[in-house]
Amino acid sequence: MRVVRALIIATVMVLSSGPAYSAEHTLIMHHMELEEITVPVRVGDVVNFDNRSDMTHNLYVTYSDGTVDNLDTQVPGTQRKLTLRVAGPAIIKCWIHPIIRLEMEIAPKDAPAAP
């Protein structure tokens, strides 16, 4: 019982600690475009890439330091999650469809959380 109580307190502390809390966002993939995330995103946030188009995509994120995170191939109806790693401007593109491009500003981990 003590252990459970301790866990609950720890969870509450993590959730209430403001900037350290990581949020999850959904980024919807349409036919040839990505729906912009309208709230600020931070390092440590998780983006859930949701392919609601009728075609296969394979997205990748290029961070401001030049490093790249590749998502796996996503057939229609599938989701992939990615934890954002680097603060600064990032570009999301598709290996299969170069016309797809979305720019995103990633705030540092300790930036204020989205309202």
Partner: protein, 356 residues
């Protein structure tokens, strides 16, 4: 009810049903919405909705960094046809992108200054202004980047960019042409390439019978071609990649051709399996009905191409998920071929300028 009366009722009901079916099918057929084999059907409303996606744009997009200018276009045109841009002085851009052969060379694999066959077929350049990725493997993002690649490639034109600058400065006739476009600036390869890209953007396909049909002329294409349009956008699955007015979404796919060439896989991290053997979806506008086809020119006839898509390509981890075997009847294939022929408008001609 007696048997005879029941039989009469049955015959009447059956006749009415048959009549209604015939009327309904007649409406479908007169609007040309049913494919010959009956497996690919589309309502008139669905076709009208689809046709909107194939409308041609009304203007050419030019980038802010390299805006259109008539004199720049003319300079680019002159450079395009000038073989002195190659190291040997024997190969111009127009040698491989020959206006008389649909702005390609008609070869399975191109040949440049060294005579060594190039690894891939010469791609068409008409409607290049709208491309979002260039070269078979997409290694260029803009026409300005692309234009320098064949000039400098060892087996194509073999001319280093500083060599190009030097060569152009040695030709007196270019002085006034460059001065008119880039006043007060020295002649250099960068400006030459900007002019080449500008000229290439003006190479726009002429309207075809398909475009007239899209614009509302119902009789512009045959019933077979209209059925082919339905097959193209349904059971044939061609529109999965050959979509939009240029009949390409500039996407990259491994379509299962046997080849050592890994295409876009050279530029993607090894973990991106799907890019191995992936090449750009080519436009189908003005596709030479005489071939050759595919990035490596490995297919000689359009019939062979259709057979390949029916089989679905070589099974391997990189094979595009869009590559699913399709079953087409003889009639559907003929309809598809009739449709593809409607995408070719009058040839885009250019006899080339007088060289300085």
């Amino acid at each position: 009810m007696t048997f005879r009366r029941a039989l009469s009722c049955s015959i009447i009901v059956s006749s009415v049903a048959t009549f209604l079916t015939v009327v309904a099918r007649g409406n479908e057929l007169t609007t040309g919405v049913e494919s010959s084999a009956g497996s690919a059907r589309m309502s008139a409303a669905a076709i009208d909705e689809l046709k909107v996606k194939f409308r041609r744009p009304t203007s050419i997009p030019f980038p802010k960094s390299n805006p259109f200018d008539e004199k720049k276009k003319e300079l680019g045109r002159t450079l395009f046809f000038d073989p002195r841009l190659s190291v040997t002085g024997s190969v111009s851009c127009a040698s491989c992108h020959d206006p008389n052969i649909g702005w390609t060379d008609g070869l399975a694999r191109g040949v440049g200054v060294t005579g060594v066959p190039l690894p891939r077929r010469t791609p068409g350049i008409v409607d290049a202004a709208w491309l979002t990725a260039l070269m078979w493997d997409g290694r260029a993002d803009t026409l300005e980047q692309q234009a320098a690649m064949p000039i400098t490639a060892e087996h194509e034109m073999g001319m280093p960019l500083d060599g190009l600058t030097k060569r152009l400065n040695e030709i007196d006739g270019y002085k006034s042409l460059f001065e008119a476009v880039f006043p007060g600036k020295e002649i250099n390869a960068k400006n030459a390439i900007a002019a080449l890209a500008t000229y290439e953007r003006t190479l726009v396909s002429n309207k075809s019978s398909f475009d007239r049909w899209i614009d509302g002329d119902a009789s512009a294409i045959s019933a077979a071609a209209r059925r082919g349009f339905v097959v193209f956008n349904s059971t044939g699955r061609c529109n999965k990649c050959h979509s939009g007015w240029r009949f390409t979404d500039d996407s990259f796919h491994d379509i299962g051709l046997r080849s050592e060439d890994i295409g876009r896989g050279k530029f993607a991290p090894p973990s991106v399996t799907i890019m191995k053997h992936a090449f750009k979806t080519p436009s189908l506008r003005n596709a030479r009905m005489s071939g050759p086809y595919m990035h490596n020119g490995s297919m000689k006839t359009m019939e062979e191409v259709l057979d390949h898509y029916e089989k679905g390509g070589e099974l391997r981890p990189s094979l595009s998920p869009e590559m699913k075997p399709v079953k087409l009847s003889r009639q559907e294939k003929d309809d598809l071929l009739a449709f593809l022929k409607t995408l070719g408008g009058p040839p885009l001609a250019d006899k080339g300028p007088e060289l300085p």
